[in-house]
């Protein structure tokens, strides 16, 4: 290297520091927004959730102690109309200026579109509450196992292996039969419990893997040095740092939960009629598949769209939170 006198003296360069510091989450959010499929799916999912919550004014009705009236759904889910049974989908107004049956009616004259919206309630509820149950079991088990490590961890993972040997759907079916088929909230609670009880292992393994690798990092050692207790270390340090894969796993797990519910309802072990559920509507539609294909087409379409949306969203989240895995599974 040849050193020479500078032609012009150096001037201090002024940097313009106006951008706020980047955090992992803001960075990930920006990456997520660039993924069009994920954004579309996210918007679709939000629309579905809103439509499903506001299908009727249930909450207000409960507050004012009167029966619920349909809000976003044009008809009630058990509103029968025997003059109009098994109508095909059409855009014409139904009798007496009623809202057109966009997706036709079933054999009792119930509007399929409204039933689909109400049925979405079950699916979304299972998705949300099922994920909660899985998170509670999986996080608790996995964090303890991962944190302890060594023999305790090996033992706990053996139990998980045993649980993996269970044919899960069969077990859920058995559980549902034991708990009986009741109406309303109890059925959802039973299904959520059953599904959660057999699906928590994946989350436990994931959390355990994360903890095992995070345990060796310096900040954990530092925390221990200043006297933090184990519980504190787990909740304040290890868990927040594992949040990324957990979020991805939860989002990608929702389609599985919805699938479980649809399968259970299809074989008749879900929420009992008349409250609709997509799996139940698939069952009815399948029986009538030759005569009224619209009865099966729309529930199948909705089910697929919602599952696809959450899959794309989960993929987008995974790409956003861990760009090294971009383009891969």
């Amino acid at each position: 290297m040849v050193s020479r006198e500078r032609a012009t003296p150096l001037r201090p360069v002024e940097f313009d520091i106006t951008r706020p510091p980047e955090s992992l989450w803001r960075d990930a959010w920006r990456r997520l927004l660039r993924n069009r499929a994920a954004v579309v799916s996210g918007i679709f999912a939000i629309i579905v959730v809103v439509a499903v919550i506001f299908a009727d004014d249930g909450l207000i009705a409960w507050a004012f102690n009167r029966p619920a009236r349909p809000l976003l759904a044009p008809y009630g889910f058990k509103e029968v109309d025997f003059d109009n049974t098994r109508a095909s989908p059409s855009l014409q107004r139904a009798a007496e200026g009623g809202f057109p049956h966009l997706m036709g009616t079933d054999k009792f004259g119930r509007d399929v579109f409204s039933r689909i919206i109400y049925g979405g309630r079950i699916s979304i509820a299972i998705g949300v509450f099922g994920s909660l149950v899985i998170m509670i079991f999986g996080l608790a088990y996995g964090s303890i196992s991962g944190y302890l490590g060594g023999r305790a961890d090996a033992l706990m993972m053996r139990f998980v292996d045993i649980m993996y040997a269970f044919p899960t759907l069969l077990f859920i079916i058995l559980l549902m039969v034991i708990l009986g088929s009741t109406a309303g909230f109890a059925a959802i609670r039973n299904m959520v419990l059953g599904i959660g009880l057999v699906s928590w292992m994946g989350m436990a393994r994931l959390v355990r893997g994360q903890f095992l690798s995070l345990r060796e990092k310096e900040f954990v050692e530092a925390a221990r040095m200043i006297g933090a207790r184990d519980v504190t270390i787990i909740t304040r340090h290890l868990l927040p740092n594992s949040l990324g894969p957990i979020i991805v796993a939860v989002t990608l797990g929702i389609p599985n939960l919805i699938m479980f519910e649809a399968t259970l309802s299809f074989i008749g072990l879900g929420v009992p009629p008349p409250f609709p559920s997509w799996g139940q509507m698939l069952n009815e539609g399948w029986r009538a598949i030759r005569a009224d294909p619209h009865l099966i087409f729309f529930p199948a379409l909705m089910l697929s769209l919602v599952m696809m949306a959450f899959n794309f969203l989960g993929d987008g989240l995974r790409d956003a939170l861990d760009p090294q895995m971009r383009g891969t599974m």
Binding site: I162, F166, L170, I178, T263, I296, N311
Partner: protein, 338 residues
């Protein structure tokens, strides 16, 4: 390696034992017995007779032992050990189909071939389709990354993973019905073909494709992803630098390593097939185990319920062990660490 395999098989025993305990307990918890769901009410004497005959009046743990090892409880003769119980491969009498045993219902069948073999055929075909189509598709997509064929393949894979398999089945049925309506040749939908191979294939192909769709898509995506990762490794670069032809590099080095994540996922995938098969069997009216299972629950046929779950559990554990073994075969680090 041999020790690894033996260890894995030994683990089968406690796992299956636990499964029997849990399922037995669960069936005992089901409200209503096998004789109370009939339409006609039974007089208490008759019911007492039935219960004595099927030993339903004994304490639960005794019933369990009887189920497992047979009538040793009565005769006390050690030579009767296992003759009538689970350990002697006797799954007990069926409550619903009176006079037939579970072994007969599940394994002998009657007019149509045995239920188990039907489900097994369906499952095997689905596995073959998934592996036979998924892996090559994944490899090609990885090698020709970001080309048209890659995009098309991955798009269909995405669809296949997201759309539940019974929806695919229903769409097939709709398509066949439409073809029937317009007098075009279509594949038959119900029943099972036993006349000749062509008949069998035409009945089997739709359910098998439906069952295999999700698996194919998943395996394709996974193979592509791991292949992409493997190709970028240094040892592949070395092999290419040494002058090996591309095909030799792929087959000899890249393939084995990229199949590792695929085998990992094969275990849960096969479990999903086992369970997914009910719906497919119901939709396509295939006379397999799935249908028996569902009806046995509503009929409270305890022994059939237990028998079906046990068959599934044994299959599942066995397949998991096979997957583990092939996993150890592909990845030497696994067998060395256990």
């Amino acid at each position: 390696m041999a020790i690894y395999i033996i260890r894995r098989f030994l683990w089968m025993v406690p796992v299956l034992l636990m499964v029997t305990v849990i399922v037995f307990g669960a069936t005992k918890l089901v409200p209503g017995g096998p004789f109370s769901t009939e339409g006609r009410p039974m007089s208490p004497e008759i019911r007492a007779n039935f219960e004595a005959r099927y030993h339903l009046d004994e304490p639960t743990w005794k019933q369990y032992i009887r189920y497992m090892v047979g009538d040793i409880v009565d005769t006390g003769n050690i030579r009767d050990f296992g003759r009538n119980g689970l350990l002697g491969f006797d799954l007990g009498p069926s409550y619903k189909y009176r006079g037939r045993t579970i072994n007969n219902v599940l394994f002998d069948g009657g007019v149509v071939k045995a239920a188990v073999s039907v489900s097994a055929q369906l499952g095997t075909l689905a596995v073959l389709i998934a592996v036979g189509i998924g892996i090559p598709l994944g490899i090609i997509s990885a090698l020709k990354q970001n080309t048209f064929i890659d995009y098309v393949a991955m798009f269909f894979a995405m669809l296949g993973v997201s759309i539940p398999n019974f929806v695919v089945g229903l769409m097939f049925i709709l398509a066949m019905l439409w073809l029937n309506q317009h007098d075009l040749p279509a594949l038959p939908l119900a029943r099972w073909g036993t006349k000749n191979f062509g008949d069998w294939l035409s009945h089997m192909i739709l359910p098998a494709i439906t069952l295999g769709t999700g698996g194919t898509a998943l395996i394709a995506r996974l193979t592509r992803a791991s292949m992409l990762e493997v190709i970028r490794q240094d040892y592949i670069r070395t092999a290419r630098a040494k002058g090996l032809r591309d095909r030799a590099v792929i087959v000899g080095h890249a393939l084995k390593n990229s199949l590792i994540p695929v085998t990992t996922v094969l275990g849960p995938l096969m479990a999903a097939w086992l369970t997914g098969s009910f719906i497919i069997e119901t939709i396509f009216s295939v006379p397999g185990i799935g249908r028996f299972f569902v009806s046995s629950i509503s009929d409270r046929d305890y022994t059939l319920i237990m028998g079906t779950i046990l068959v599934y559990a044994v299959l599942l554990v066995f397949m998991n062990i096979l997957v583990d073994i092939s996993y150890a075969f592909l990845d030497p680090r696994i067998r060395l660490e256990d």
